[in-house]
Amino acid sequence: MPNIVVLVKQVPDTYSERRLTDADHTLDRASADAVLDEINERAVEEALLIKEAQGGEVTVLSVGPERATEAIRKALSMGADKAVHVTDPALHGACLLQTTRVLAAAIGKVDGVDLVIAGNEATDGRGGAVPAMLAEVLGFPQLTHARKVTVEGSEITVTRETDTGLTHLRATLPAVVSVGEKINEPRYPSFKGIMAAKKKPVDTFTVADLGIDAGEVGLDAASTTVVEATPKPPRSAGQRVEDAGDGGTKIAEYLIGQKII
């Protein structure tokens, strides 16, 4: 009966325009629509599939502003049992190292965790590194970029899929898993699920609750700092021609002129 923690994150919708704030070069979260990252829904789905087959409990964990509540509610309405939400103004501008350490500390608040499941890459930061970093902090094996997960007793096997192909992995629990796009098709929350989610417990923690000094996190204590951020001048349109039966030839002439071919 594995005890599973699923990481979820609210991200700006990739279909809306995303900006950086002028003040401190952090993501302007107000400028874009926020959604539960697609890949997180697959992480939640995988946790629910394991729970439905083997029992156990699914806890949703999110570190983020107040607005992350929506992502948490979505995961709960899909069927997760409870949630932990770490929210603290001190986290503004947190770097990847800090975020990872906060996640690890919050996972420590959940009893007897066997499995941590996350999406393989958030669409906003695109670090693709947080699940591996979390495994490093927790001292757990990492089974990342999974397209298939099998848990049998204390053993976990995963088929990892990356650009280079498939890799078959095996480790012992507790472990950190990240799931890829092809892992499953997430379910839609049912009306019953949405109603039930409203009664499910959400524990809210500040960083101090996790035993972390607020001065150790956030922009000022970050392990990286932005020296400058410049919006790129928008690419301007070049030549455009109507195809009059010679469009392909025109392109070839252009490419030859540019010494590309």
Partner: protein, 322 residues
Amino acid sequence: MSEVLVLVDEVDGEVKKVTFELLTAARELGEPAAVVVAAPGTAAKVRESLAAYGAAKVYVAESDDVANYLVTPKVDVLAALVGAKSPAAVLVPATAEGKEIAGRLAVRTDSGLLIEAVGVESVDGAVVGVQSIFGGAFTVRAKATRGTPIVTVRPGGVDAVESAGAAAEEAVEVPAVDPAKATAVTGREPVVGGDRPELTEASIVVSGGRGVGSAEKFDVVEQLADALGAAVGASRAAVDSGYYPAQFQVGQTGKTVSPQLYVALGISGAIQHRAGMQTSKTIVAVNKDAEAPIFEIADFGVVGDLFAVAPQLTAAVAQRKG
């Protein structure tokens, strides 16, 4: 001059192009030292090409454990070298595995992690990573505030330039694996790469979108790609419609590419797609709709039917290449 560690990306002794790009970038910061963490016998195969791109040193950490365990043996070796050699920076390719190696190394050495750099600079003695974020909408320069800067560099972000290096070898031990924390690799099924270059490494990419209309008609995209020696890409709309496999998707939720030439066929150019390709050096677009946003960023655009224009271009390219 201090050393800059470069993690070598190779497959069966064949060095990936991104390694040469990293060695080129490393020269901006100090003396490039290539780190080969691989199966026994690999260094002998790769040393010459590392020398050709300016590796002053080659640290050789060879062990069967490297193939038998995921990610951690490479982290262990790099962490030991960071401790022993105090390098100015560690450069790692921003591949799926490279990002994980860099992330774990940053945790272990308590160092700043600069991700997805498209270049590195030395500014007043500090290592600065240049990042192109939100699909090229912002250029950000960032530096580490503690530890050794760990930088993941995007394939294609830096142009590889040859420069002779001594490539002096030094053997390094691969630390023993802790089975409770490690993940065993029990099998591999490498992608059988066709004759086309890899999407993120290609210098030319030809992509098709919704306008291609069907999986069968993607032929027209592939034929142009093959004439140009290019990789084939697809927009999210094309992938979602089942025209082309998901691993070829270019865009915010797919691959980010920045080739010398990007040809967009039947792609409208939604923000989603532009985020994955707008840092391409030259963009050519063909679309029936004169209002398509792709034309706002195209260096050369043709308003017309891609099924008329692309084959004509394919023929012209084939003729030119003789």
